[in-house]
């Protein structure tokens, strides 16, 4: 099927129902694509054909029995390698978990399977989801399929690249500070960070527990809606998942956006924003205005503090979350003469430098004597940033910003300067800290042909509205502005 229009979830469904292709054939088709492209892109770390074909066969059996197919029947999907998959190696792109095979499925994976999805394999990412370029993977960087000398963004770079390159119809990523939206922007595909609590974190290997979210990448907004609907909803295994009903996202997509108030915070258009990106975003906003949205200027005064706040809270939680990788029970164990020596050797060899940097930062900010000045203060600022959002949503229905200040940068361009790398998260971490949903949708390309991402934030649990605006934007040609 390569060369033809890209597969969509609806297309897969129609083809299966019309018996034009079987789920097994479709999976095989994607594996052959992966065969051709993955060496170059390095998007997949592990392929799971055994599980994929078993899933595909179940769908094919359902087709042959004439049963009603589940919503994601036969859809070839990729899963970021920080999401636990039973029987399929889950490395978190770390040496620490090179041979770790989870005995259980993350709730999101389980729900995808129940919805009929076919798991092609596990995708590359920054180690333990820590990074914004996918260069922190212990298994090598992912290349951006749009421009092979450039990063795909991170941390969910493998998932974004796989979908953008047609190596999966949809993929799960995770977003802690921008790890779905920014790679979506860099690779030119939509990616949704749901509200904190919308999708269960059970089985998602924790980086920063109060910020981690699982969300989808896909080629179009309708597919984002379909995958979100499949994984969203309360889970008794995650105390922080919300018992909020899941609306019919697909049904809400076609609602007109006429009259919606879109806030444009000037704080997101300052120093550091690439002029070409800014131009595209303004064009995107103008398009939404033509669709009947009302543009409302906003101030979100605590935006400047978001990066510092994020890196204190995220690293503090990470320092504790990653303590379990001690060589005792699973994963890497480096020999040592004493217990302490074994811990040291294991963690020294198992973790890459960015992970170590964050563990050290986090350990520091939680230490006796520093806790109040850093962690506690960061929590207070986090509350102020969340208030910026709730204040804004008194006046507007959604907030429109650039997803990232630049387009995809070159491999190696920022690796020497971690702080520069952190600053690339400036527009995404705000919404992460506030816990609100945000989607990045393609908003044209720069003259160099690099995709620009437009970000749409909505109030807590307003995925339906965020998707509705994104869909209207897509339908009006916004993706190729």
């Amino acid at each position: 099927m390569s060369g033809a229009a890209p597969w969509t979830i609806a297309g897969v469904r129609a083809a299966l129902a019309a018996k034009k292709i079987s789920a097994r054939e479709l999976a095989a088709e994607f594996y052959s694509r992966i065969d051709r492209r993955n060496a170059e892109l390095n998007a997949y770390l592990t392929l799971s054909p055994e599980r994929a074909y078993a899933q595909a066969d179940r769908i094919d059996a359902a087709v042959s029995r004439g049963e009603t197919l589940p919503p994601l029947a036969g859809v070839p999907m990729a899963i970021k390698d920080v999401i636990s998959t039973r029987g399929v190696r889950t490395t978190c792109a770390s040496k620490m978990l090179e041979d770790y095979i989870p005995p259980y499925d993350a709730t999101a994976a389980e729900r995808l399977e129940r919805a009929g999805a076919v798991f092609l394999g596990k995708t590359n990412c920054d180690e333990f989801a820590m990074g914004g370029s996918n260069e922190n993977s212990a298994y090598g960087p992912v290349r951006n399929p749009v421009a092979l000398d450039r990063v795909p963004g991170g941390s969910s770079g493998g998932s974004a690249a796989a979908v953008a390159a047609g190596l999966a119809v949809a993929a799960l990523g995770t977003d802690t500070g921008g790890s779905i939206r920014q790679p979506g922007a860099f690779c030119g595909i939509p990616g949704l960070m749901p509200t904190y609590g919308r999708v269960s974190r059970y089985g998602l290997v924790a980086f920063a527990s109060s910020l981690d979210k699982i969300g989808p990448f896909a080629g179009n907004v309708a597919d984002i809606a379909a995958v979100t609907a499949a994984i969203a909803g309360h889970d008794t295994y995650d105390s922080t998942s919300a018992a909020v009903p899941v609306p019919d996202y697909a049904a809400g997509l076609e609602k007109p956006v006429q009259g919606l108030r879109i806030g444009v915070p000037e704080d997101y258009f300052g120093k550091g924003l690439d002029p070409e990106v800014q131009e595209k975003i303004h064009a995107g906003i103008a398009l939404l205005e033509r669709l009947g949205c009302r543009r409302i200027p906003l101030r979100m005064p605590h935006t400047d503090y978001a990066i510092a706040t994020y890196y204190i809270i995220a690293t503090a939680e990470a320092s504790s979350n990653l303590a379990r990788y001690d060589g005792v029970r699973y994963g890497l164990r480096a020999p040592g003469a004493t217990l302490t020596e074994m811990y040291r050797q294991t963690r020294d060899r198992g973790f890459g430098s960015e992970v170590k940097r964050r563990i050290m930062l986090g350990t520091y900010v939680l230490s006796a004597g520093y806790y109040d000045a850093y962690y506690l203060r960061a929590q207070r600022v986090r509350a102020l940033i969340a208030r910026d959002f709730s204040d804004a949503f008194e006046k507007v229905d959604a907030i429109i910003t650039p997803t990232a200040p630049t387009t995809a940068f070159r491999l190696g361009e920022k690796t020497a300067d971690p702080l520069q790398m952190y600053l690339a998260d400036v527009y995404t971490v705000t919404g992460s800290l506030a816990g609100v949903p945000g989607i990045s949708v393609p908003c044209g390309k720069t003259r160099a042909g690099l995709p620009v991402g437009l970000q749409i934030f909505g109030p807590h649990f307003s995925e339906e509205r965020v998707l509705q605006i994104a869909h209207a934007f897509e339908a009006a040609g916004g993706f190729s502005l």
């Binding site: 636990s84 989870p102 089985g203 939680e317 303590a323 379990r324 939680l366 230490s367």
Partner: protein, 488 residues
């Protein structure tokens, strides 16, 4: 024996506070659905959550929270509207997540007290706080084929729900500490918060100990003594530690603030290597768990489910059953014994007689057999049947004891034993008179003595009649008949 002269010891006042960990009596663990059953095959009661596998998340066991709330109420603590689980971070092989889930800044309950009684004097001991936490696994350093090379870890206990109860430094003697722990244990058993089984580690105790010259305004430097996991160890360790500190001060030294371990074999406290406890635990709120919000309605719900506490039960036993304070005290020592007594009364046993039999006969036999009341072979209803027979005069009190012994040994009911052994009391005046006449006829000498005024001989005749009837004759009837026959 003390190495210090009593005059020296008496110049100092010990100050003791206890930190007690109790296992909450839930069927499943604090944050997952694994069984808390003791003695299962190693690592059989485990899952991704309690093994701390990547991605697993804790979900609070409601029953554990209920029991911790019940304990808080029984200890007269204020339950906080909002409490919060925190992570206590440290590395240890049997701590799979690299942190313990505990409560730190916002404990479940604060400001409680326990009333202890010592030599008839009552004293209130403050309870600073009660908080919940999960237990670690167990490192096993011996007993396996390759124990020389490896340590083994059993994670069955890992994730078991605990309540930590911290007392104020209100205890002044090892005896008070003993009484406090004993009272605490009794309350927790009563309220079914914990089985308080020290052998199985359901109740563990650490102590903060310091000494000061009597009358000194400030506390001395304290040492924390760990591993006081039996009442005996508690007394011994506290006595040892108090004398150690006094000796140190008397010889011009100072007490160092440190953690010490009670070495059972050596009978002394020893400093733990600094590495084992010098932690900055980097506590912070656990982002995986929501703050615990407790509404007044929830408190009320738990209060309604609260069983009667020991003090209230004693008062009720005195009032409703007319027991002596001694019997009431004995019978309420444990809730199961009190329940046994009340079950016997409900089955028809006269209260005072039941109290007496349980406090004397039953407890003695249980003691001899090394059994607890839960394993008592005589059911309360069976005891009631026996007491009814004694009460109605169907058997004598002496026979009653024999029947009881058989019941205890065989588990048979009283009626069966009485019938089988022919112990039914003889009140048939005809039968007794026949025997009395025979006895009198056999001893003309004694009859003569009796008639000449030697009344002491009467006991001889009673004894003979009782012997002939194998103790089953009604003593009152025997007396009357003998007096009549001898007077003829």
């Amino acid at each position: 024996m003390s190495r210090l002269a009593p005059e020296v010891l008496s110049r100092y006042e010990p100050v003791i506070g206890l930190e007690v960990h109790v296992q909450l009596a839930t069927l499943t663990k604090a944050f997952c659905g694994c069984s808390t059953k003791f003695g299962s095959a190693p690592n059989s009661n485990t899952c991704p959550v309690c093994l701390g596998l990547p991605g697993a998340l804790p979900v609070l066991n409601k029953k554990a929270l209920d029991l911790a709330m019940r304990a808080s109420m029984a200890l007269q603590c204020q339950i906080q509207e909002r409490s919060r689980f925190a992570r206590k971070n440290y590395f240890y092989p049997d701590l799979p997540k690299g942190y313990q889930i505990s409560m730190y800044e916002l404990p479940l309950a604060i400001h409680g007290c326990v009333e202890i009684e010592l030599e008839g004097r009552k004293k209130r001991i403050g309870v600073t706080r009660l908080h919940m936490e999960d237990d670690a696994g167990k490192s096993l350093h011996e007993g396996f084929a390759e124990s020389g090379r490896w340590s083994y870890i059993d994670f069955n206990r890992c994730g078991t729900p605990l309540a930590e109860i911290v007392s104020e430094p209100d205890l002044r003697t090892p005896a008070e500490a003993y009484a406090y722990l004993n009272t605490l244990k009794q309350i927790l058993e009563y309220t079914e918060v914990s089985d308080c089984n020290m052998e199985e580690g359901s109740l563990r105790c650490d102590a903060n100990v310091s000494v000061r010259l009597r009358g000194a305004p400030q506390f001395g430097t304290k040492a924390e003594v760990k591993n006081l996991n039996s009442f005996r160890y508690l007394s011994h360790a506290l006595e040892y530690e108090i004398e150690r500190q006094i000796e140190l001060l008397e010889s011009g030294g100072t007490v160092v603030q440190e953690t010490r371990l009670w070495n059972v074999a050596a009978g002394r406290t020893e400093p733990m290597r600094s590495k084992e406890f010098a932690h900055d635990y980097r506590y912070f709120p656990d982002p995986d768990l929501l703050p615990v919000s407790i509404s007044p309605a929830r408190i009320e719900e738990v209060r309604r489910s609260m069983p009667e506490l020991p003090d209230a039960k004693v008062a009720r036993f005195l009032r409703d059953y007319g027991l002596t304070p001694y019997d009431a005290g004995v019978l309420t020592a444990t809730r199961s014994l009190a329940d046994y007594f009340e079950a016997a009364v409900r089955a028809g046993a006269p209260a005072k007689a039941a109290a007496n039999w349980i406090a004397v006969e039953l407890l003695r036999r249980l003691n001899d057999a090394g059994k607890g009341i839960a394993e008592c072979p005589v059911e309360p209803a069976a005891l009631a049947e026996l007491l009814a027979k004694v009460e109605k005069g169907e058997i004598t009190a002496a026979s009653g004891k024999k029947v009881f012994a058989t019941m205890f040994d065989t588990g048979k009911r009283a009626a069966e034993i009485v019938a089988a052994e022919g112990l039914a009391q003889i009140s048939d005046t005809g039968a007794i008179e026949k025997i009395a006449r025979e006895v009198v006829a056999k001893s003309p000498d004694n009859v003569a003595k009796y008639r000449s005024g030697n009344e002491g001989v009467f006991k001889f005749f009673v004894g003979q009649v009782m012997r002939e009837t194998r103790g089953q004759a009604n003593p009152q009837v025997v007396n009357e008949i003998l007096k009549r026959v001898l007077a003829e």
